[in-house]
Assembly symmetry: C2
Homo-oligomer: 128 residues x 2
Amino acid sequence: MNIGEVSKNTGLPAKTIRYYEDIGFVTPARGDNGYRSFSEKDQHKLVFLGRARGLGFSIEDCRTLLALYEDQGRASADVKRVAQKNLSEIDRKIADLQAMRGTLSHLVANCAGDGRPDCPILEDLGRS
Amino acid sequence: MNIGEVSKNTGLPAKTIRYYEDIGFVTPARGDNGYRSFSEKDQHKLVFLGRARGLGFSIEDCRTLLALYEDQGRASADVKRVAQKNLSEIDRKIADLQAMRGTLSHLVANCAGDGRPDCPILEDLGRS
DNA sequence: ATAAGGGTTCCAGTGACGGGAAGGTCAAGC
DNA sequence: GCTTGACCTTCCCGTCACTGGAACCCTTAT
Protein backbone atom coordinates (compact mmCIF):
# COMPACT_ATOMS: atom_id res chain seq x y z
CA MET A 1 0.00 0.00 0.00
CA ASN A 2 1.10 3.52 -0.75
CA ILE A 3 1.06 6.17 1.91
CA GLY A 4 -2.15 7.77 0.64
CA GLU A 5 -4.18 4.63 1.13
CA VAL A 6 -2.69 4.00 4.55
CA SER A 7 -3.50 7.56 5.47
CA LYS A 8 -7.10 7.04 4.43
CA ASN A 9 -7.35 3.73 6.25
CA THR A 10 -5.76 4.91 9.48
CA GLY A 11 -7.02 8.47 9.57
CA LEU A 12 -3.47 9.70 10.10
CA PRO A 13 -2.14 12.47 7.82
CA ALA A 14 0.60 11.34 5.44
CA LYS A 15 2.89 13.87 7.12
CA THR A 16 2.35 12.15 10.44
CA ILE A 17 3.04 8.73 8.98
CA ARG A 18 6.33 9.95 7.50
CA TYR A 19 7.18 11.45 10.85
CA TYR A 20 6.41 8.15 12.55
CA GLU A 21 8.82 6.49 10.16
CA ASP A 22 11.47 9.11 10.98
CA ILE A 23 11.24 8.33 14.66
CA GLY A 24 11.29 4.60 14.08
CA PHE A 25 7.68 3.61 14.76
CA VAL A 26 7.35 1.90 11.41
CA THR A 27 9.85 0.93 8.74
CA PRO A 28 7.88 0.40 5.55
CA ALA A 29 9.54 -1.28 2.57
CA ARG A 30 10.33 0.74 -0.51
CA GLY A 31 9.30 0.02 -4.08
CA ASP A 32 11.58 0.45 -7.08
CA ASN A 33 10.19 3.93 -7.56
CA GLY A 34 11.18 4.95 -4.05
CA TYR A 35 7.59 4.95 -2.80
CA ARG A 36 6.91 3.59 0.66
CA SER A 37 5.18 0.21 0.57
CA PHE A 38 3.25 -0.50 3.75
CA SER A 39 2.35 -3.98 4.92
CA GLU A 40 -0.81 -4.82 6.83
CA LYS A 41 1.31 -5.03 9.93
CA ASP A 42 2.69 -1.53 9.37
CA GLN A 43 -0.84 -0.25 8.99
CA HIS A 44 -1.95 -2.08 12.11
CA LYS A 45 0.85 -0.47 14.08
CA LEU A 46 -0.19 2.93 12.81
CA VAL A 47 -3.76 2.34 13.91
CA PHE A 48 -2.44 1.34 17.33
CA LEU A 49 -0.35 4.50 17.50
CA GLY A 50 -3.23 6.69 16.38
CA ARG A 51 -5.41 5.33 19.16
CA ALA A 52 -2.69 5.68 21.77
CA ARG A 53 -2.03 9.28 20.74
CA GLY A 54 -5.79 9.87 20.85
CA LEU A 55 -5.75 8.77 24.48
CA GLY A 56 -3.10 11.36 25.24
CA PHE A 57 -0.05 9.13 25.41
CA SER A 58 3.18 10.92 24.52
CA ILE A 59 5.35 9.75 21.68
CA GLU A 60 7.77 8.20 24.15
CA ASP A 61 4.95 6.42 25.97
CA CYS A 62 3.72 5.19 22.61
CA ARG A 63 7.15 3.78 21.95
CA THR A 64 6.98 1.89 25.24
CA LEU A 65 3.43 0.70 24.61
CA LEU A 66 4.29 -0.47 21.12
CA ALA A 67 7.24 -2.45 22.46
CA LEU A 68 5.01 -4.03 25.10
CA TYR A 69 2.35 -4.74 22.49
CA GLU A 70 4.85 -6.69 20.45
CA ASP A 71 6.36 -8.46 23.42
CA GLN A 72 4.33 -11.60 24.03
CA GLY A 73 6.03 -12.05 27.38
CA ARG A 74 5.15 -8.61 28.76
CA ALA A 75 3.64 -8.11 32.20
CA SER A 76 0.34 -6.21 32.18
CA ALA A 77 1.66 -4.33 35.21
CA ASP A 78 4.11 -2.55 32.93
CA VAL A 79 1.33 -1.44 30.64
CA LYS A 80 -0.85 -0.38 33.53
CA ARG A 81 1.92 1.73 35.02
CA VAL A 82 2.33 3.72 31.81
CA ALA A 83 -1.42 4.17 31.51
CA GLN A 84 -1.79 5.28 35.09
CA LYS A 85 0.95 7.83 34.70
CA ASN A 86 -0.86 9.23 31.69
CA LEU A 87 -4.11 9.21 33.59
CA SER A 88 -2.54 11.22 36.40
CA GLU A 89 -1.19 13.66 33.88
CA ILE A 90 -4.61 14.04 32.31
CA ASP A 91 -6.14 14.59 35.74
CA ARG A 92 -3.60 17.26 36.48
CA LYS A 93 -4.33 19.02 33.21
CA ILE A 94 -8.06 18.87 33.84
CA ALA A 95 -7.57 20.31 37.30
CA ASP A 96 -5.42 23.13 35.94
CA LEU A 97 -7.96 23.95 33.27
CA GLN A 98 -10.85 23.81 35.70
CA ALA A 99 -9.07 26.23 38.02
CA MET A 100 -8.63 28.61 35.09
CA ARG A 101 -12.20 28.06 34.06
CA GLY A 102 -13.49 28.86 37.54
CA THR A 103 -11.74 32.20 37.75
CA LEU A 104 -12.37 33.15 34.16
CA SER A 105 -16.04 32.25 34.05
CA HIS A 106 -16.59 34.26 37.20
CA LEU A 107 -14.91 37.28 35.64
CA VAL A 108 -16.77 36.90 32.35
CA ALA A 109 -20.09 36.64 34.18
CA ASN A 110 -19.42 39.91 35.97
CA CYS A 111 -18.39 41.84 32.88
CA ALA A 112 -21.14 43.96 31.40
CA GLY A 113 -19.80 43.50 27.90
CA ASP A 114 -21.15 46.81 26.69
CA GLY A 115 -19.66 50.05 25.37
CA ARG A 116 -18.43 51.30 28.74
CA PRO A 117 -14.78 50.90 29.74
CA ASP A 118 -15.38 49.47 33.23
CA CYS A 119 -14.34 45.85 33.19
CA PRO A 120 -13.86 43.46 36.10
CA ILE A 121 -11.70 41.22 33.91
CA LEU A 122 -9.06 43.89 33.36
CA GLU A 123 -9.43 45.07 36.95
CA ASP A 124 -8.60 41.63 38.20
CA LEU A 125 -5.65 41.14 35.87
CA GLY A 126 -4.28 44.54 36.86
CA ARG A 127 -4.99 44.53 40.60
CA SER A 128 -2.05 45.50 42.80
CA MET B 1 15.09 47.73 39.07
CA ASN B 2 17.25 45.04 37.53
CA ILE B 3 15.74 41.99 35.93
CA GLY B 4 16.47 39.76 38.92
CA GLU B 5 14.41 41.82 41.30
CA VAL B 6 11.55 42.11 38.82
CA SER B 7 11.69 38.37 38.36
CA LYS B 8 11.39 37.89 42.11
CA ASN B 9 8.57 40.41 42.41
CA THR B 10 6.54 39.12 39.51
CA GLY B 11 7.28 35.43 39.79
CA LEU B 12 8.27 35.36 36.11
CA PRO B 13 11.63 33.80 35.14
CA ALA B 14 14.16 36.32 33.85
CA LYS B 15 14.21 34.42 30.57
CA THR B 16 10.50 34.98 30.17
CA ILE B 17 10.84 38.68 30.91
CA ARG B 18 13.52 39.04 28.24
CA TYR B 19 11.27 37.15 25.85
CA TYR B 20 8.41 39.52 26.69
CA GLU B 21 10.68 42.39 25.82
CA ASP B 22 11.60 40.72 22.52
CA ILE B 23 7.96 40.49 21.52
CA GLY B 24 7.25 44.05 22.58
CA PHE B 25 5.26 43.59 25.78
CA VAL B 26 7.61 45.82 27.76
CA THR B 27 10.41 48.15 26.74
CA PRO B 28 12.51 48.72 29.83
CA ALA B 29 15.08 51.51 29.86
CA ARG B 30 18.77 50.65 29.83
CA GLY B 31 21.42 51.75 32.28
CA ASP B 32 24.94 52.82 31.30
CA ASN B 33 26.14 49.28 31.84
CA GLY B 34 23.59 47.90 29.41
CA TYR B 35 21.44 46.41 32.16
CA ARG B 36 17.67 46.62 31.79
CA SER B 37 16.14 49.15 34.17
CA PHE B 38 12.48 48.39 34.87
CA SER B 39 9.99 51.01 36.04
CA GLU B 40 7.09 50.28 38.36
CA LYS B 41 4.86 50.46 35.31
CA ASP B 42 6.93 47.85 33.49
CA GLN B 43 6.67 45.59 36.49
CA HIS B 44 2.94 46.16 36.74
CA LYS B 45 2.52 45.18 33.11
CA LEU B 46 4.50 42.01 33.73
CA VAL B 47 2.26 41.11 36.65
CA PHE B 48 -0.74 41.69 34.42
CA LEU B 49 0.77 39.46 31.75
CA GLY B 50 1.65 36.74 34.23
CA ARG B 51 -1.93 36.65 35.45
CA ALA B 52 -3.37 36.64 31.94
CA ARG B 53 -1.07 33.79 30.91
CA GLY B 54 -2.07 31.99 34.10
CA LEU B 55 -5.69 32.18 32.94
CA GLY B 56 -4.72 30.51 29.70
CA PHE B 57 -4.73 33.53 27.39
CA SER B 58 -2.40 33.16 24.41
CA ILE B 59 0.40 35.60 23.82
CA GLU B 60 -1.63 37.28 21.09
CA ASP B 61 -4.65 37.53 23.34
CA CYS B 62 -2.41 39.01 26.00
CA ARG B 63 -1.28 41.59 23.51
CA THR B 64 -4.90 42.52 22.85
CA LEU B 65 -5.77 42.58 26.53
CA LEU B 66 -2.78 44.73 27.37
CA ALA B 67 -3.77 47.22 24.68
CA LEU B 68 -7.31 47.31 26.03
CA TYR B 69 -6.00 47.68 29.57
CA GLU B 70 -4.06 50.75 28.56
CA ASP B 71 -6.89 52.21 26.49
CA GLN B 72 -9.07 54.26 28.81
CA GLY B 73 -11.74 54.50 26.10
CA ARG B 74 -12.07 50.74 25.57
CA ALA B 75 -15.43 48.97 25.50
CA SER B 76 -15.76 46.16 28.02
CA ALA B 77 -17.46 44.17 25.26
CA ASP B 78 -14.09 43.86 23.51
CA VAL B 79 -12.51 42.46 26.62
CA LYS B 80 -15.40 40.12 27.25
CA ARG B 81 -15.23 38.76 23.71
CA VAL B 82 -11.58 37.80 24.11
CA ALA B 83 -12.26 36.24 27.49
CA GLN B 84 -15.22 34.25 26.21
CA LYS B 85 -13.22 32.92 23.31
CA ASN B 86 -10.58 31.72 25.76
CA LEU B 87 -13.27 30.25 27.98
CA SER B 88 -14.67 28.29 25.04
CA GLU B 89 -11.23 27.05 24.22
CA ILE B 90 -10.69 25.94 27.81
CA ASP B 91 -14.05 24.17 27.78
CA ARG B 92 -13.11 22.37 24.61
CA LYS B 93 -9.82 21.24 26.10
CA ILE B 94 -11.53 20.05 29.26
CA ALA B 95 -14.06 18.09 27.20
CA ASP B 96 -11.28 16.49 25.14
CA LEU B 97 -9.36 15.52 28.25
CA GLN B 98 -12.43 14.16 29.97
CA ALA B 99 -13.21 12.00 26.96
CA MET B 100 -9.67 10.59 27.13
CA ARG B 101 -10.00 10.19 30.85
CA GLY B 102 -13.23 8.24 30.49
CA THR B 103 -11.81 5.70 28.10
CA LEU B 104 -8.47 5.44 29.78
CA SER B 105 -9.73 5.07 33.35
CA HIS B 106 -12.07 2.32 32.18
CA LEU B 107 -9.18 0.48 30.57
CA VAL B 108 -6.91 0.95 33.56
CA ALA B 109 -9.61 -0.31 35.91
CA ASN B 110 -9.93 -3.51 33.89
CA CYS B 111 -6.22 -4.24 33.69
CA ALA B 112 -5.00 -6.74 36.23
CA GLY B 113 -1.62 -5.09 36.47
CA ASP B 114 0.16 -8.30 37.37
CA GLY B 115 2.83 -10.43 35.79
CA ARG B 116 0.62 -11.97 33.12
CA PRO B 117 0.65 -10.62 29.57
CA ASP B 118 -3.12 -10.31 29.12
CA CYS B 119 -3.98 -6.65 29.03
CA PRO B 120 -7.25 -4.97 28.03
CA ILE B 121 -5.38 -1.72 27.43
CA LEU B 122 -3.24 -3.17 24.67
CA GLU B 123 -6.16 -5.20 23.39
CA ASP B 124 -8.19 -2.06 22.96
CA LEU B 125 -5.40 -0.12 21.30
CA GLY B 126 -4.74 -2.98 18.92
CA ARG B 127 -8.32 -4.08 18.16
CA SER B 128 -9.08 -4.49 14.47
C1' DA C 1 43.39 40.05 42.94
C1' DT C 2 39.90 37.09 43.02
C1' DA C 3 35.58 34.95 43.45
C1' DA C 4 30.67 34.95 43.58
C1' DG C 5 26.73 36.43 41.80
C1' DG C 6 24.52 39.42 39.06
C1' DG C 7 23.80 40.92 34.11
C1' DT C 8 24.18 40.68 28.55
C1' DT C 9 23.58 38.47 23.69
C1' DC C 10 22.93 34.73 20.68
C1' DC C 11 21.94 30.10 19.21
C1' DA C 12 19.70 25.78 19.64
C1' DG C 13 16.16 22.73 21.42
C1' DT C 14 11.52 21.41 23.06
C1' DG C 15 6.71 18.18 21.08
C1' DA C 16 4.47 16.59 17.47
C1' DC C 17 3.77 17.61 13.77
C1' DG C 18 2.14 21.16 9.45
C1' DG C 19 3.12 24.07 5.23
C1' DG C 20 5.13 24.55 1.18
C1' DA C 21 8.77 24.26 -2.41
C1' DA C 22 11.04 21.57 -5.95
C1' DG C 23 10.98 17.66 -8.25
C1' DG C 24 10.09 12.45 -9.64
C1' DT C 25 6.23 8.88 -10.94
C1' DC C 26 2.03 6.87 -12.53
C1' DA C 27 -2.43 6.22 -14.94
C1' DA C 28 -5.81 8.01 -18.04
C1' DG C 29 -7.36 10.32 -21.95
C1' DC C 30 -6.45 12.43 -26.52
C1' DG D 1 3.48 10.11 -27.84
C1' DC D 2 1.99 13.90 -25.06
C1' DT D 3 -0.22 16.12 -21.59
C1' DT D 4 -2.68 16.49 -17.42
C1' DG D 5 -3.45 15.72 -12.80
C1' DA D 6 -2.97 13.09 -8.84
C1' DC D 7 0.20 11.00 -6.28
C1' DC D 8 4.76 10.35 -4.31
C1' DT D 9 9.66 11.92 -2.68
C1' DT D 10 12.99 14.87 0.24
C1' DC D 11 14.17 19.05 2.51
C1' DC D 12 13.74 22.95 5.26
C1' DC D 13 11.26 26.25 7.89
C1' DG D 14 7.43 27.49 11.17
C1' DT D 15 4.49 26.57 15.08
C1' DC D 16 3.99 28.09 20.67
C1' DA D 17 6.00 30.00 24.56
C1' DC D 18 9.43 29.59 26.34
C1' DT D 19 14.12 26.99 28.36
C1' DG D 20 19.07 25.71 28.44
C1' DG D 21 23.53 26.76 27.67
C1' DA D 22 27.71 29.05 25.99
C1' DA D 23 30.58 32.95 26.07
C1' DC D 24 31.22 37.08 27.87
C1' DC D 25 30.73 41.66 30.83
C1' DC D 26 29.71 44.18 35.40
C1' DT D 27 29.50 44.78 40.44
C1' DT D 28 30.47 43.96 45.07
C1' DA D 29 32.83 41.80 48.84
C1' DT D 30 36.73 39.71 50.63
